[in-house]
């Protein structure tokens, strides 16, 4: 045990560097997912234009059906090769995870909005609320509650999926651990560290989502 802690302490700068990359990508992707997902979700719930609906649906399906690994390849290798844009590994990772997160988030937002009964809209209008007031004061507060469990679950999925970024040359905490394993030949210490780390990152979120779900039911 002492030996394990010593090993982790000696390699703390490297592990922190990797953790920083992991959390940075996950946090940026979460941020853009919430904004993009909210906008797209509201659009899908309220704008009944066939073309808009089909485009939004196609976007969602593309990110659901095609593996994230392939998307990373596309943005890191294919797009720069074709366009002479220089896209760094981190930028490609944030872009892909944001686009994926936004597509999933849009479905969560749309689903939540669709479950608000028509009566809530009618009642709001009946007491003379404007469109903005109706959405901000009546619809959103109810919809946000219904989104939260799904949204938090999505964040834990994003955190766990970040380990794919090694394919575009980003050294995340998993890759850092592998580098340390190769030098020190201590796989168990480092995999145990990763297990505890991801547990510590994701479990509180998972608990929070369950608690919120209970409270709202």
């Amino acid at each position: 045990m002492l030996h394990a802690l010593e090993l982790l302490w000696q390699n703390a700068p490297l592990l922190l560097d990797g953790l920083w990359a992991t959390l940075g990508i996950a946090a940026a992707a979460t941020f853009f997912s919430i904004i993009g997902g909210a906008l797209l979700g509201m659009m899908r719930a309220s704008w009944n234009n066939a073309i808009v609906q089909a485009a939004a649906r196609a976007y969602l399906e593309l990110f659901r059906v095609i593996p994230i690994l392939v998307w990373l390849f596309v943005f890191f290798f294919a797009v720069p090769a074709a366009s002479s844009l220089d896209i760094s590994g981190t930028l490609a990772a944030v872009t892909v995870f944001s686009l994926w997160g936004a597509s999933e988030m849009s479905d969560i937002v749309r689903g939540a909005l669709k479950t608000i009964p028509q009566a809530q809209y009618d009642a709001g209008r009946a007491i003379g609320l404007s469109g903005a007031q109706l959405h901000l004061r009546v619809i959103l507060p109810q919809a946000v509650r219904r989104m939260l469990p799904g949204a938090i679950n999505l964040v834990t999925r994003i955190i766990k999926t970040t380990s794919l970024v090694v394919i575009v040359g980003v050294v995340d905490v998993v890759k850092r651990s592998q580098q340390i394993i190769e030098r020190t030949k201590e796989p168990f210490v480092l995999y145990a560290f990763l297990l505890l780390l991801f547990f510590a990152l994701c479990h509180p979120l998972s608990r929070l989502s369950r608690r919120l779900e209970k409270r709202f039911n």
């Binding site: 000696q10 700068p13 490297l14 560097d17 196609a58 399906e61 593309l62 059906v65 390849f73 596309v74 890191f76 290798f77 294919a78 797009v79 720069p80 090769a81 074709a82 366009s83 002479s84 090694v166 394919i167 575009v168 040359g169 050294v171 890759k175 592998q178 580098q179 340390i180 394993i181 190769e182 030098r183 030949k185 796989p187």
Partner: protein, 285 residues
Amino acid sequence: MRHPKPLLPFLAAAVLFGFGLLAMVNVGCSRRNDADSLAKIKNRGKVVVGVFGDKPPFGYIDRQGRNAGYDVVLARRIAADLLGDENKIEFITLEAANRVAFLQSNKVDIILANFTRTPERAEKVDFAKPYMKVALGIVAPDASPVSALAGLGGGRTLIVNKGTTAEAYFTKNYPEIKLLKFDQNTEAFQALKDGRGDALAHDNTLLFAWAHENKGFKIVESNLGNADVIAPAVKKGDTVLRAWIDAKIDRLAAEHFFLNAFQTELHPFFGDSVRNPDDVIIEGK
């Protein structure tokens, strides 16, 4: 969904999308070969080199978090002679399976990642003169009944890494051997330790080092396949940079740079599993 839509338009869109991507990659790869890469590197003030970060003793991260190893020593010398400072270098950490893609999409200038020269790869990248040689080896637990390649028949499992020479060799020449494939070296060797396969095939140099470090494992084959060579790789068509590296390797061989690098970088890892440095290094041949 209340109104199920036909699947066909969606499939058609997906196929079109796929071809679009392919076209983009092709356009990208056929372009931008003409610029003088040496001038580009000098203007930039640093050379970008793709190395491994988890393959000691060739490319790994040392205690201080610096890139180190036999490949890295050569990379730093190239930076020193090209730009006058061995620190004018940016290391990109690669995986075995994405090395070619990094070169093709202009993400690195040179790959020095234990890159074995094969005819298939030579169609996609340009190799400079070799600085090391390698054949395939097989490692197995001491207690294993497997004592040679022949012992791998009869439903035994061989562990290999995706995208490596070992995978290609066994797929082509021994299709009857069951392969268990991994993306990462870390996973592959751990799988061998965990008994998920009977033996593991990889470049012999990597196995020399690994068997020296891990007691309880034996080298059962050390010279399979065509004794391949390891060479720096540059982007296809980058003749300027390749010619510069070729000349540099000739001069480095004359001053026994590679023999010195063997002594400082490789010998501590191989121990006595390699008796003659010429089994591993090439000095300007």
